[in-house]
């Protein structure tokens, strides 16, 4: 049985995630309303504009539905804007995230678009060399709660990928590169093939 994975399709690069997950054999559906979470094993929250995603999600009571989805054992992976909306707290107060994971996140942590960059970073749980990471107006993790493990950081020590149980968040965009290893990691996490972090 293929895994049923949803991609939150309110706004952002959800089609890129969909293409990679389908290539890896998952059954993928686009989620625009909360009832579409039913029957899913895992959910990807894509890159995009976090304010747009949060406002569109609040409109249809997504935050409660997402917290229920996590409580019932669903796996969730957020990339960039996805990491921001999963956080329990943001350094910048104007947006209220969904509190799916016990992390404090800073939005646009590296500056404006002209400061966006690419780099190679090693990632725990991924074999075969570092991951090529694309950072676009990217966030970073400022504080991690108990049980949250940092699985990738920049040379200066800034945490840019974290994991806690079946939850994962990356500040960068594996969906924008042809390397499918991070998506494979999320599918293994969803299937319960990884030991708890």
């Amino acid at each position: 049985m293929p895994l049923n994975i949803g991609v939150l399709a309110l706004q952002g690069d959800f089609q890129e995630h969909r293409a990679v997950l389908e290539k890896l054999g998952a059954h993928v559906t686009e989620v625009r309303l909360p009832h579409q979470l039913e029957g899913l094993d895992g959910l990807v929250i894509p890159g995009g504009e976090s304010t747009s995603i949060v406002k569109l999600a609040n409109r249809y009571d997504f935050p409660d539905a997402l917290r229920r989805f996590v409580d019932e054992g669903g796996a969730v992976w957020g990339t960039c804007a996805g990491m921001i909306v999963m956080a329990s707290k943001l350094v910048e107060p104007e947006l209220e995230p969904f509190s799916l994971m016990d992390i404090t996140v800073s939005r646009n942590s590296f500056g404006r678009q002209v400061d966006s960059f690419e780099t190679d970073i090693p990632m725990d749980g991924i074999e075969g060399g570092p991951v090529h990471a694309v950072f676009i107006r990217a966030p970073s993790v400022q504080e991690q709660g108990e049980g949250v493990e940092c699985i990738a950081k920049l040379d200066d020590g800034t945490p840019v990928a974290v994991r806690s149980g079946k939850l994962m968040a990356t500040a960068f965009h594996p969906e924008l590169t042809p390397d499918t290893r991070v998506h494979e990691l999320f599918l293994r996490l969803t299937a319960g093939e990884l030991s708890p972090a």
Binding site: E49, K55, L56, Q113, T119, H173, P178
Partner: protein, 319 residues
């Protein structure tokens, strides 16, 4: 390999022949991957024209993915006449400070110094726009020379591929800005998408002649033939005024929409902005589009684009 003035990105041939992600110098700032990547993040979203920080906040609160900072919306540029130029840096900076979403601003076609100024201000995206008075009758700016990404207008596939060849990271239809009439945006989107479908069907030996006829770089014609889409994100712009207009463009097959004069020239901007954002996300859900279309108040007055004399048709600008 050509190197641009800031030491980044190269020519389109390097980027199109070799997948952009192979180019992985460490911590490369302002590379083509991060420029076109920002456009990817805007997909499924609405970009709104704003003339001050107050409007920028309304746009952000409504869920806009970016704002376009400009002194006058296209409807007013039409009404005022005269030469339309880049906006005052103070006005752009006020909007950069007021919002957390990306800020775009317009340069005149071919006015690469206006673009240099916008990059120096920290603008996230430059629109080399036919809405402003062109500064060059023959040439567009060299967009590879910037670490700030560019969006450019087009009316057909050849024009889109010429702009991408010059380094544009995002394409939009020109439509007919400042009219509130969606027909030109529909025409341009259908033309581009139809020409892409046609290229896909051609045998490879006919592609060089197709490139000649389109007036487009051969490598990009080959890429479109193989992939069946533009190599960058493709938005609709120019005349979108209602939630149904936005959903129409999304169903035709664009990645997102720009709304210029349509929001802040209408009776209830905050509500209309919110409605257009929702209709763009739920473009294939007529129940939601119907709901958000209720009681929006006056739409912008509008000008039928077929009644515009040729000298006032902005879509004719650009080469």
């Amino acid at each position: 390999m050509a190197t641009s003035t800031n030491g980044t990105a190269n020519t389109y041939i390097d980027r199109v022949r070799e997948p952009r992600w192979l180019n992985s110098e460490d911590a490369e700032v302002g590379s083509y991957a991060v420029k076109s990547g920002l456009a990817q993040m805007l997909k499924g979203g609405v970009i709104m024209d704003v003339v001050n920080d107050e409007q920028a906040k309304i746009a952000e609160d409504a869920g806009a993915v970016a704002v376009m900072a400009l002194e006058r919306v296209p409807a007013d540029i039409r009404a005022d006449g005269g030469v339309a130029r880049m906006s005052d840096p103070n006005m752009i900076e006020a909007i950069l400070k007021a919002t957390t979403i990306p800020v775009m601003a317009k340069s005149r076609i071919g006015h690469f110094v206006e673009a240099q100024v916008l990059q120096a201000l920290g603008v996230d995206f430059c629109d080399e726009s036919e809405v402003l008075t062109p500064a060059d009758h023959e040439f567009h700016s060299d967009k590879w020379a910037f670490k700030m990404p560019f969006v450019c207008g087009c009316t057909n596939l050849g024009e889109a591929l010429r702009r991408i060849g010059e380094g544009a990271s995002m394409i939009r239809t020109k439509g007919e800005a400042g009219t509130g009439d969606v027909v030109e945006a529909v025409t341009h989107a259908r033309t581009v998408l139809g020409e892409i479908r046609r290229l896909q069907q051609l045998p490879e030996m006919e592609l060089m002649t197709a490139a000649k006829n389109l007036g487009a770089p051969y490598d990009l014609v080959l890429w479109v033939h193989k992939n069946g889409r533009l190599p960058v994100v493709n938005f609709a712009a120019g005349g979108i005024a209602t939630p149904a207009d936005a959903a129409l463009m999304m169903q035709i097959g664009v990645d997102g929409v720009f709304v210029g004069s349509g929001i802040f020239k209408s009776g209830n901007p905050a509500q209309r902005a919110d409605a257009i954002v929702q209709a763009t996300t739920h473009f294939d859900n007529p129940d939601i589009v119907a709901n958000v279309s209720r009681d929006l108040g006056e739409a912008m007055v509008g000008i039928s684009s077929s009644e515009l004399p040729e000298s006032e048709q902005l879509a004719k600008r650009g080469w």
